[in-house]
Subunit: 480 residues, 2 copies
């Protein structure tokens, strides 16, 4: 750690960066920097002092060392697809963006060890494809996979649709290479399933959103590629029945259960209104649905029989009102596209106050029931959509006004809506940010809901690893 | 954190403990303290200042607060079944043992959320049974499960036989309750599958062997109970074939593959010599064996067919020389008991220099091949047993002299043997302590093999969470 950092002028600083990264590695004019300056939803706009684009871990270390020596704050950035503006610099022009996008090599793929070693800038979809080409599965999967980068996925502990079976991004990591706040490199690229030699340091950097170190590479787990899949679309009476049905499927199917998504009727109505190519998969209207996937490394026949038997049992128990099993791969893909297009359809329909919350699975019915009741009482006529990952307890619970004329007034009360829903979630032992992280948009919620003991612990960790507060200041932790 | 700790006399200190814990919670005479003073293998003997036996988290907090105020070092202890003497106090009579054994309540079991909330002192086998009674599986399983406690399992990130499918102890934890070094309580008992709200603090305490905080309770994941299992005992030509066979089974069977253990011939010879009730499962002698288990939440027929097809494919590829499938549950249990008795048979046979090492799965053949070659060259006539968890890359690689007459002389060279094997392991990207941790017996190895950057990171974390070095001093981290 430098004891006597020497603040320098802007020109001198840029010259140092250019010496370390070459001219092509340093962007300084507005139009070049624009794609790195704002979040992808266009809500948060920053002004970078410069954008650094290193091509090697050594260059990342050199850049961070210059920042440490000059007390220049830096903002690590991957694909810039985050939901909480965690990769957007401050608007005051004092922070440099450190883009990892050119650090994009797959360093190795070890088929026998079922691991892939990838640099931070690798696009998630490219890793999925590299694994598939080796007849393996890299299971992390989410909407932004065509442009998000693995470094960002790890720094935010990304979730997505495969968490039920494979866990969050954190669970897919065996080792990390990290540039620390003083520019030194922690070589933690181990490819081991078991290693109990002292503190598990990689855990510090996973999910820390670049505030404790800059992840430059990772060793990731690969899994056997599935050979068969079955998709079922089921109408259920209510969220409580969906939870029971989930546990029924899970007990019978075990790890074959790789998807179990709740969808409320309003999601479908909006979808059919906004995106023409979809229509109702079932002949009648129902209030609640589940989209379920079973998959297996083994032959398809057994899987189909298992799906049908589980469905039949669910119907007999009154947990399923009607259902359709996809009869082809394209039918299955169509059903999953419906689910995936819900956020886009919602976006086209109206402005929403959105919540990315989780609760214990057993408390999902209370979350949806009490949340809807309280919102309707406080904001008469409010429209609510609920959809998400039953098995993870992670529900996207979004609200908008009764009609377009009242939309703006409703959005103006966003903080009150947040407070109502998040207070409920916390009273159910839940989380106000299940998969999107904190970034800069949820720092206030963190300060509000975390205990003083927990906040102090986080601050002590930050202080221990980044005493000069060089790394992504203003993100995750409340000031002070 | 107390700024001005006040050292006190022994009597005063004991009086404070007794006030906080009641008289039954404080042991001070030698015979009472004996079971807490030494490790179970009888190699390391400590002298406790006192043994504290709190019954509630509040009492743990009170005890730690007294230690913090008086700068009294404390050693958290669970079932005291560790392999590295991490729960044994120093011999100078200055450290108190904080036994968690009376903190043994199961606080709740949430079937719908698939979680159990248990206090640190719960015996592992009791948790397994509580889960089974609710038709669920708590998969952590290891030799000491009848006496080890879950708090110790978590503090040491225990491994065992289920890691291949379910991960290490760390992977089974959703939330923790921890008493910190100043006696405050971190309430992190969350039961969520997804929670991205700041640093994942529980990771700090898992595997830290009580040096960063005292785990008092945990929320643990439960899994669907298996309904069927198939066990196969297979002779293989060599470790490379075993690795190929592992990947063949894993690709075909996916998560049904729940056990895949390598056993060298000498393990069996010693077993049959030392423990009479066992005999060779196959008619001929082979040099290497694999004991494999498939299990499933679903019906048995499919599983048997899958096992037979995978075995057949392995034979055709030359990876399997001969095999037997257990035809009954008792046959399967007998095969697994063989595997489990290997350490005990070894212990009866001779004194060994033992290594608990891991490498990437792809490098297991090099580990065993080069390790054996180098040991034989350096110590002519040395006998080597190799057995362990192929899928985890975790091999128990133990050596003894050619015969009893030379045993003592060989053991006297223990450090040289360690160095030879661990140097090789590290050159293969491995770990010198795969599942047993560091405790006090491997601190020197840690200092030797960890980089200065990594050692400094660990020290900074220790300093941040336990600045007065109250918690389990002398364990895990090298002095300084």
């Amino acid at each position: 750690m430098p004891q006597h950092p020497a603040p320098v002028g802007r020109e001198d600083l840029l010259a140092r960066f250019e010496q370390a990264l070459e001219a092509t590695g340093v962007l300084t004019n507005g139009p070049d920097m624009a794609p790195y300056a704002s979040d992808w939803r266009g809500r948060v706009h920053g002004v970078p002092l410069a954008v650094l684009r290193p091509t090697t871990t050594g260059q990342v270390a050199a850049a961070v060392r210059i920042c440490a020596q000059t007390r220049t704050p830096l903002v690590p950035q991957g694909g810039n697809t985050g939901q909480c503006a965690g990769a957007v610099p401050a608007a005051d022009g004092t922070q440099v963006v450190l883009s990892l996008g050119r650090l994009d090599r797959i360093r190795s793929l070890d088929i026998e060890n079922n691991t892939i070693t990838a640099e931070a800038g690798c696009i998630l979809a490219n890793l999925q494809q590299a694994a598939a080409a080796a007849d393996r599965l890299f299971p992390l999967s989410l909407g932004a996979e065509g442009s998000c980068q693995i470094g960002g996925n790890l720094a935010t502990n990304a979730g997505g649709t495969a968490v039920l079976r494979y866990g969050n991004a954190r669970d897919m990591v065996l080792g990390l290479e990290v540039v620390l706040a003083d520019g030194s490199i922690w070589e933690g690229l181990r490819a081991l399933r078991k290693d109990n030699t002292g503190y598990d340091l990689k855990q510090l950097f996973l999910g820390a959103e670049g505030t404790l170190g800059v992840i430059t590479a990772a060793v990731l787990k690969l899994y056997p590629a599935p050979r068969a899949a079955v998709t079922a679309f089921m109408a259920v009476p209510d969220p409580a029945a969906a939870v029971n049905l989930f546990n029924r499927f899970r007990a019978r199917c075990g790890d074959r259960l790789t998807g179990f998504e709740l969808i409320s009727r309003l999601c479908l109505d909006i979808l059919f209104r906004q995106i023409e190519r979809f229509s109702d998969p079932l002949p009648q209207r129902y209030e609640w649905y589940v989209l379920c996937e079973l998959s297996d490394t083994h032959a398809a026949e057994g899987l189909h029989a298992l799906a049908e038997a589980s469905l039949e049992a669910g119907m007999q128990a009154g947990e399923v009102l009607d259902a359709t099993l996809a009869q082809s791969k394209s039918q299955a893909e169509r059903l999953w596209r419906m689910r995936e297009e819900i956020p886009e359809a919602n976006r086209r329909e109206a402005p929403w106050v959105r919540h990315d919350v989780s609760v214990p699975v057993s408390r999902i019915p209370e979350l949806i029931g009490l949340g809807s009741e309280r919102l309707r009482k406080r904001f008469p006529g409010v429209q609510i959509v609920a959809f998400g990952h039953i098995g993870d307890g992670n529900i996207h619970f979004n609200a908008t006004a009764a009609d377009a004329a009242h939309a703006e007034a409703f959005i103006a009360q966003q903080e009150a809506v947040y407070a109502l829903v998040h207070d409920l979630v916390m009273s159910l032992g839940g989380s106000f940010s299940a998969e999107h992280g904190i970034g800069q948009l949820k720092v206030r919620e963190l300060a509000r809901y975390k205990s003083p003991v927990e906040l102090a612990l986080m601050q002590r960790i930050k202080q221990a690893l980044d005493p000069e507060c060089i790394l992504n200041p203003g993100k995750v932790l409340p000031p002070g």
